[in-house]
Symmetry: C2
């Protein structure tokens, strides 16, 4: 498996674009994205668990009920959620694109991200679509930019892998960065591949993967109304279609997981206001479920997040978060280490503090990527969760988001 | 029922004190509190649900297993939690006080609050106890100060009420202000009353009350390891002892609830870094459980909290938090209003936004106490939760708490 460039245009038959159509006032910020496959693709999606769901999710669900799609249209700047005419607007977006590209509206996936509860004016989208389509090409970066809201960094990746001697490619783009919490952690993730895989197996792969990836990311504990992870597989790599489990499916799962873990780390590390990526790795739990509960609890603890911002080795807060996680834990066996590029610091053993160098701890915690490594010494369950520190800028960004 | 002064010294037979004994470096900050009853009192307590529990909690539980106590000793500056010798130290604190006051160590309630995982040196406490005892008197305010950590305001209240023509009094002190989350929301609350009530009925009253009070407060989603709510009833008011349900018990419950709701509001409003008290009142839920889930979810939403800090009427975040609360909600019936001393603003009806004056909303939300009023229009269930806004100062306080 190799990391390659190209994002959502890396695989055969996929093109993308992103333009400023006018949903946002800032004319230098692209706000409308398109991803397109030359041929209809197998398609699978997972969505937010929030009862309040964006209108685009209802439309997308209906469109991909047949397991196929050919294009993704996505705007930023407005979530098209909690609006009386939301469904109509989302359907209109699909129709406009389908008309321009001479395809079926039911083969279009639609997504929106931004402010909730303000009507989305379809006019700028209608006016923008001809240019959006005309500019289609090797422009994954334009699409990645167009789906960003408060994200500071574009999030894209692609990898190549082999199935039965045939080279396949898989690539994705994502946007975070606030209102990020299991389940589903991600706001928007679009993954494309030229690997031939049936809609059923694509669905199986995606559902299994998100349990250990996007559902283990938290920026702020708020589960967005519009979270969507979508995978399109157009089969143009020419491998024998994957229709059941086996070595080919495993190879695909591994490539998918490389893409999703990378995007998870991007989303967490670019959390609103974040200065640090936090990764909590739990082992020795009585079950995988317990390990997940502990990892998520630590990554979600505001106090732990604030301590990490301050590079303060206040491990008592980690213990506290373990204790209220709901997991079955023998507190007297717990071991906690902080790890970064600068090394390891053991801070707690057998549930009690150990002497450690505050100077060394500071050095470790001043790094931009911190691992909180927990061994519960009580079983074989393991899990990893991703998050970020809690900073002044998180408050600043969210104290007055709409203005 | 009347609000009176005196805090935990308001009722007959209770005295208190608070001194600086040297656990904290800052000599102007009291760090050791004592509450004492002339006669042994009926006693009931509730504690944190965190699996990681402070050593003082284990000792206190054992001491009040017989339903009686005569004194409360509490230090701030160190939580005596996750320490190998925590139990010994907590027991030593009780013994030292018992020896000084010629009472049984098993009649002493002990509590600690502050940093987790640093050994608590008992020396300054041993040295301080004689002065602590000698200074006992009408000093509820000294005790209230001595239990504070990052609290900015002392939290105390007392009320008088009548049972069968006999005047009784009940008073309490509390400390917040970080690591506050259901269940149990409070860090430390000590309530005293001269009302005669059996230990069993006191326990019943307290357990029922906290479900609607301290378990409905959240500052930051972190459940502390040391949360304790303790009530002592010494019977010196002279009423006929309450040993069963009935009008006298109801009157006591009402007085207790007045004290606890007041202290909940104090704790939430003085949350770490808070500039605003948030009260979320939910009605029209299918059940009380659903109402509680919604109220807690809204009060815990980082995005809602940050919006309130910015006086931004971003009600979409309230809808979002309702949606992921886990409660059974018909999104299309939801109504949301913001309320403060400056009036009401209706922002959402039937699950969709309504036109409102941003100017008026700003005026309402700039007040120091904001009510988020939600009617789910789907039943009779109601609940209230208390929280605070998320501010720069929360991050500052917790970014480097130990130094």
């Amino acid at each position: 498996m190799n990391i390659i460039s190209g994002g959502v245009c890396a695989a055969k038959g996929f093109q993308a674009n992103g333009i400023h159509c006018g949903i946002r006032h800032n004319k230098t910020k692209r706000d409308l994205a398109l991803i397109w496959s030359e041929v209809p693709a197998a398609c699978a999606g997972v969505y937010t668990a929030n009862l309040v769901k964006g209108a685009p999710i209802a439309v997308t669900k209906a469109h991909i009920a047949d397991g196929r799609a050919q294009a993704v249209i996505c705007n930023s700047g407005n979530a098209n959620t909690c609006n009386a005419d939301g469904i109509e607007v989302a359907e209109k977006m699909c129709e406009l694109l389908a008309n321009e590209m001479s395809m079926k509206a039911s083969d279009v996936v639609v997504a929106s991200t931004g402010v909730i509860g303000q009507r989305l004016n379809v006019e700028p989208i209608a006016k923008g679509i001809p240019a959006l389509v005309k500019g289609l090409g090797d422009h994954s970066d334009f699409a990645a930019e167009a789906i960003m809201t408060t994200d500071l960094k574009k999030k894209e990746i692609a990898v190549s892998f082999e199935i039965d001697g045939v080279e396949c490619k898989i690539g994705g783009i994502a946007k975070g960065s606030g209102m990020i919490h299991p389940d589903l952690a991600t706001m928007l993730v679009f993954i494309i591949t030229d690997c031939a895989v049936s809609a059923q197996m694509l669905n199986k792969a995606l559902k299994a993967d998100v349990q250990n990836t996007f559902n283990m990311v938290s920026v702020d504990g708020d589960t967005s109304t519009n979270d969507t992870v979508m995978v399109l597989a157009n089969g143009m790599a020419g491998n024998k279609e994957i229709v059941s489990e086996g070595p080919a499916f495993d190879a695909f799962m591994q490539a998918l997981n490389t893409v999703t873990v990378y995007l998870c780390r991007c989303i967490a590390g670019d959390g609103e206001g974040a200065t640090k990526l936090l990764e909590c790795r739990v082992s020795g739990a009585r079950s995988e479920k317990d390990a997940k509960a502990v990892a998520k609890s630590v990554i979600c603890s505001s106090l732990t997040k604030a301590a990490m911002f301050g590079a303060d080795a206040n491990w008592g807060r980690v213990l506290c978060a373990i204790g209220y996680s709901g997991a079955a834990v023998d507190v007297e066996k717990v071991e906690v280490k902080f790890h970064s590029a600068k090394g390891d610091v053991l801070v707690c053993e057998n549930g009690a503090g150990v002497d450690f160098s505050e100077e060394k701890a500071k050095e470790v915690l001043l790094e931009p990527a911190i691992d909180i490594v927990i061994d519960l010494h009580d079983g074989e369950g393991a899990a990893t969760a991703w998050g970020c520190d809690l900073t002044y800028d998180y408050v600043k960004i969210n104290g007055d988001y709409r203005t």
